[in-house]
């Protein structure tokens, strides 16, 4: 079989509010476009097999695993990565603060994906109970924390965003 001569395709996207573009091979995965072309390395690659969720980004209002999307599929899309999470004035967003205050991370490898997923979860369900949080982050694996503190971090953020008091459940 001869290797086909593949033309590159011009793509344009909005990433963290900024318009970006690039000339890409069709097989370029979104996660590589983000990390290599855009040099935004907060989005991690864990498994590369659509299981771990470390590569999760927000795409047109959906959490997606960017290792399982081609950049050409999302030409024109609006994307948010962990680099776009902080508040406009540079202070930590409620979720970032929650992960910090509740020790929601240890090595931190899963954290960008966890936060991006939790971001969409809270948009869809601003007041989730523990079970809904666990089900909502079931596409994200963490090998360090045992999830307990991640759940608390998300509860902390939900309370802060809702303007209610965060109460840690008794263990």
């Amino acid at each position: 079989m001869t290797t086909p001569q593949i033309g590159k395709i011009h793509v344009t996207m909005t990433v963290n509010g900024t318009q970006v573009d690039g000339l890409v091979e069709p097989r370029l995965l979104l996660v590589h476009f983000i990390r290599e072309n855009l040099q935004l390395t907060g989005t991690h690659i864990g498994c590369e097999t659509s299981h771990c969720g470390a590569c999760t980004v927000d795409l047109d209002g959906m959490s997606v695993k960017s290792c399982t999307v081609f950049a050409v599929q999302v030409d024109g899309a609006n994307i948010m990565t962990i680099e776009g999470m902080a508040n406009a004035d540079g202070t930590l967003s409620a979720l970032q603060e929650g992960f910090r205050m509740m020790h929601g991370l240890q090595c931190g490898f899963c954290t960008p994906g966890m936060i991006m997923r939790a971001h969409r979860l809270l948009k869809e369900n601003p007041n989730p109970n523990e079970e809904e949080i666990r089900f909502g982050i079931s596409g994200n694996l963490c090998r360090c924390t045992g999830y307990q503190n991640i759940v608390k971090a998300i509860q902390y953020a939900a309370a802060k965003l809702n303007g209610t008091e965060f109460k840690e459940a008794a263990e």
Binding site: R27, T49, M62, S63, V69, F70, R117, G136, S138, G139
Partner: protein, 287 residues
């Protein structure tokens, strides 16, 4: 893991999509949500040199009621199934099943068409489609065919879909109001394919089963319809002896592979257990 090179096409009409598939023949594959195809391409289990992205085909999207049927566009995602009022009201078993498919991120991208089109025996939706007696519309360059799901699955990754055809609609007859339903899926963890799963749709009359159909996931080369088991329970109140017989009849047609999910005997055994549980739960929600 990087897939092999391919050319990317995004047709805007069904006719153009079909023409591209015809022109490139075996070298081309339709691309829906990509959550089966891209992993397969990374592993080089699939090496298409042309991908025909169906995302711009508006006619392949949406869920609507047409007379006594629900028509679902194959490009409808699992997430959209979960948010649909029509589905939760008229086909609640699909809502229940979509919740045990994959994980949230995968459900935002993975489509029902991609789940049922290529005959992957691990996927959950084919057995649901069999239980609900769906019909698939397949469009090629020369003709449009309506194929009964019961004739569609012919072997693992082997279906009635001809090269050059795409699936454009899924038509499901609405089960009677008050029907009982359940999808029981045993899996090792969230996001895993079924070790064994059973779908049941039934109606009850005077405390006895009036009609019943049972589908099985990942217990053979294709999804299966457990017809003998379904026949056995009709006219009964699903007493323990009947449930045992129905499980045994279903186990008799199972031929699962031994894999990481367990040896053949185990998978058949739990397959029988899923059938009994689904029957019981379906009866408990029927009115």
């Amino acid at each position: 893991m990087i897939p092999g090179p391919f050319e990317y096409h995004r047709p805007t009409t069904i006719a153009d999509a079909v023409k591209l598939l015809c022109d490139f023949g075996d070298d081309a594959r339709p691309l829906a949500g990509g959550h089966s195809l891209i992993p397969m391409m990374k592993l080089r289990l699939a090496t298409p040199s042309h991908l025909i992205d169906l995302q711009a085909l508006e006619a392949l999207k949406g869920i609507r009621r047409e007379a006594e049927s629900i028509v679902i566009g194959p490009m409808t995602t699992q997430h959209e199934l979960l948010s649909s009022q029509i589905i939760s009201k008229s086909l609640p078993i699909l809502h229940e099943a979509a919740l045990v498919i994959a994980d949230p991120q995968v459900r935002y991208r993975g489509t029902i068409g991609g789940n049922i089109a290529n005959g992957d025996p691990g996927n959950d939706m084919p057995a649901l489609m069999m239980t609900l007696d769906a019909t698939y519309r397949l469009v090629g360059t020369d003709e449009t065919r309506e194929v009964s799901v019961r004739d569609y699955y012919q072997g693992a990754y082997f279906t009635a879909l001809e090269p050059g055809e795409i699936m454009t609609a899924i038509t499901i007859p609405v089960p009677p109001v008050g029907h009982g339903y359940a999808y029981e899926k045993l899996k090792r963890k969230i996001g895993d394919y079924a070790t064994a799963a059973a779908a049941v749709i039934l109606t009850m009359s005077d405390g006895k089963v009036a009609t019943c159909s049972i589908g099985l996931t990942n217990l053979s080369e294709t999804a299966l319809l457990a017809e003998d088991a379904a026949q056995l329970v009709i006219g009964t109140a699903l007493d323990d002896a009947t449930l045992k017989k129905a499980s045994a009849a279903a186990e008799a047609i199972m031929s699962p592979a031994a894999d990481g999910r367990g040896p053949v005997e185990y998978r058949k055994h739990v397959g029988g257990v899923m059938v009994a549980r689904a029957l019981k739960r379906a009866a408990s929600v029927a009115v």
